[in-house]
Subunit: 339 residues, 2 copies
C-alpha cells in the first residue's frame, strides 16, 4: 500500500486564491487516493469554495487562519508579527510533523524567511535554495538558486548542485542529471570570483555529474538538467525568461493581426501553435521547492491556476515517496571517521 502524503496548502496566497487553489486541491485529491490536503486560510471563505465540489471529506480539511501576509510586506517582520497568517500557521503544521509539505502561491519573501525560521534546515545544509523548474526545448531544467540567498559562497553553490541533482533524479526521474554552473564563457578560467572559486569544487564533488560551465544562451536549449548559480543571477534568469517570452508572444500577436492575409492565416495556425507553445509553459511542472528544509516548502507562481496547484501537490507526493530529504541528509552527513 502506498504511504499517505499530507500537504498543507495556503488557500489565501496568490492572484487566484482561493478559487483556483481550492479547485486544484479537489482535483488532486479526487485523482490520488494516497493524498490528503489541509487548506489553511479564512474558514468561511474556503468552505464556501469547497462547497462547489464533491470530494472525499476525510482527505480535505480546513484549518482556520485569520490573517494573510501581503506580497509587499517586509518578509521577516511579517512572519514574526502575523502569527495567525496562513503562511505562519501552515509552516508550523509542517514543523510540528502534522504535515509533510507546505505549498503557497503567496509572498515569496515570507515563504523563504518562514521556511528557514519556522521549519528549519536539515542538518548539514548551510542555506536552502529556491529551485524552480524552467522550460527548455528538451523538457525542463532546475534552476538553483533563484532568489533565496544573494551573495552566496562557493560552498553554498556546491550544496545547491548536490541537492538539485538529487531532486531532479528522484522527483523528475532523470537519471544521472547533467549539472552545470552559469558562466560567461565555456572555458574554465572565465567567470567572476565566485564562479572561479566554485568551479574546481564542483569538479571534485562526488555524486554529481558536473559537465562544466553553461552560458545563459544554452539554458533554453536544454544543455543541462541542473543549472547552478547564485540567487541574484538566478532571479535575473527566471524573470528574463518570462519577460523575453511574453514580449515575443506579444509582438507575434501584433504581427498575426496586422494584415487581412495574416489574420486568416492566424486562424489556421492557432491550434498547432498553442499546442507547441504549451511545451514552454512553466506551470505544467508545478512549484519551486525550497530545498534542504525539514519537511518540504514549495512556492508556486503568484498567478498559479488549479493546474499548477494540482501538479505541485503530486510533486509533493513524489518528494515524500522518494525520501528525498533522507537522501539530502545522507549526502551531507559527516562520515564517522571525520567526526
Amino acid at each position: 500500500m502506498e504511504e499517505m502524503t499530507k500537504v498543507v496548502l495556503d488557500a489565501m496566497g496568490g492572484d487566484n486564491a482561493p478559487g483556483e487553489i481550492v479547485r486544484g486541491a479537489v482535483n488532486a485529491v479526487n485523482d490520488r487516493k494516497e493524498l490528503s490536503v489541509i487548506l489553511v486560510g479564512q474558514e468561511p471563505v474556503v468552505k464556501e469554495e469547497l462547497a462547489k465540489y464533491s470530494y472525499p471529506e476525510d482527505r480535505i480539511t480546513v484549518c482556520h487562519a485569520e490573517d494573510v501576509i501581503e506580497t509587499a510586506e517586509p518578509p521577516v517582520l511579517a512572519i514574526r508579527r502575523k502569527k495567525d497568517s496562513s503562511i505562519v500557521v501552515g509552516l508550523k503544521l509542517v514543523k510540528e510533523g502534522k504535515a509533510d509539505a507546505f505549498v503557497s502561491a503567496g509572498s515569496t519573501g515570507a515563504l523563504l524567511a518562514g521556511g528557514q525560521l519556522l521549519v528549519g534546515r536539515l542538518q548539514g545544509v548551510e542555506r536552502p535554495p529556491l529551485a524552480p523548474l524552467i522550460p527548455t526545448e528538451k523538457g525542463a531544467a532546475l534552476l538553483v538558486d533563484c532568489g533565496a540567498n544573494v551573495d552566496a559562497r562557493p560552498s553554498h553553490l556546491v550544496q545547491f548542485a548536490k541537492m538539485g541533482s538529487l531532486y531532479v533524479e528522484h522527483v523528475l526521474g532523470i537519471q544521472n542529471p547533467r549539472v552545470a554552473i552559469v558562466n560567461i564563457g565555456a572555458e574554465e578560467e572565465k567567470g567572476n570570483q565566485l564562479v572561479k572559486e566554485t568551479f574546481p569544487l564542483l569538479k571534485e564533488a562526488e555524486g554529481i555529474n558536473f559537465i562544466g560551465s553553461i552560458e545563459a544562451r544554452d539554458i533554453p536549449a536544454g544543455a543541462a538538467d541542473v543549472v547552478v548559480c547564485e540567487a541574484f543571477v538566478g532571479n535575473v534568469i527566471l524573470k528574463l525568461y518570462e519577460g523575453v517570452g511574453s514580449t515575443i508572444l506579444h509582438l507575434m500577436k501584433q504581427g498575426l493581426l496586422s494584415t487581412l492575409r495574416s489574420k486568416i492565416g492566424a486562424l489556421l495556425v492557432k491550434p498547432a501553435l498553442k499546442e507547441t507553445m504549451k511545451r514552454f509553459d512553466a506551470s505544467q511542472y508545478g512549484g519551486a521547492p525550497l530545498l534542504g528544509c525539514k519537511g518540504l516548502v514549495v512556492k508556486t507562481h503568484g498567478s498559479a491556476t488549479a493546474k499548477e496547484v494540482y501538479n505541485t501537490l503530486l510533486q509533493c507526493k513524489t518528494f515524500k515517496e522518494q525520501n528525498v530529504n533522507q537522501k539530502i541528509l545522507e549526502c551531507f552527513s559527516v562520515p564517522e571517521e571525520e567526526k
Copy 2:
C-alpha cells in the same frame, strides 16, 4: 560642411569576414560622403573582395595585417604576441590619431583587452564597459556593462550609468533617457551587496535620470533606456535574450509545420510575422561600444552581416559628430576647486 569620420574596420573578424564586412563598408561609404574606411587585414584577400564593387577609392583604403586573432585565444596574450594582427594594427591606428574609431566582429576578449591596453581610457574613466543595444518592445535599451568588467565596484556602475546616458542621448537621440539598475525586486532595500551600495550613489548622481530598480522581466518591455548592471549579470542578460528568443522561434516553426492546416496558415502569416519580428532584431542597431576609451572601439556580433556593419559605421559617425568623448571627459573632470 560635415566633418569627415575615419573608421578602421577589421576585415578579418567574425563569421562572415571578409565578404559581409567589406560589403557593409562599401555600402556605407557610398551612402555617406563624410565617411572614410580603412579596411585592416590580409591585403590580397581584402582587395579581392573590394574588386567586386564600385566605390570612391579615396575613401576606402586597405591596411595590411598578416595575422588574425582567433576567438579561442587568451585575449591579453594574443594582443601582446600578435603585433601584426588586424585587431592590434587597427587599434594602434586609433591610438596614433590616424582614425576616429575601430570596429571589429572578432574576438570580444581581445578587443576589450586591446581597447584598454592599446587605445587607453579617457581621463577620469575607471573601467570602460561594453554596452550593446538590446531590442525592446519600444525600440532598444543600452545594456552597460555586458562583459568587460566582472566583479565591478559601485563607483564603476555609477560611471557606466553616466556614460550610457550620454551615449543614448547623443547617439540614439533619446532625450533625458531613463536609467535603471538591474535588481531582483523593485524596492530600494532589495538586492545584493553591490546593488545596495550602488543604489544611493545613483540616486544622488547628477546629470542622469535615474528611475530606480528594474527587474529583468521588465527589460524586454522597454521600461528603461539605460540598463545598468555588472558584467556577469549583463552577459547573462544578453545571452539569455538570444537563447530564449531562438528557442521560442524554433518551437514556433515546429508548431507551424506540425499539421497541414497550420502549414497553409504559415504561408499566409509569414510576411507579417517576419516584418514584426524584425523589430526584435539586434543587428539593426549596430555594434556595442566600449565606452570611455580614447577614440571609439566597437564590437559587432560575431555573426555580423553587411547590414550590421553598415549601421555600426553610421553609429561611429554620429558618435564623432556629437562629440560624445568630449562630453564624457567633461562629465568626469575634477572641478578646479577640488584639485
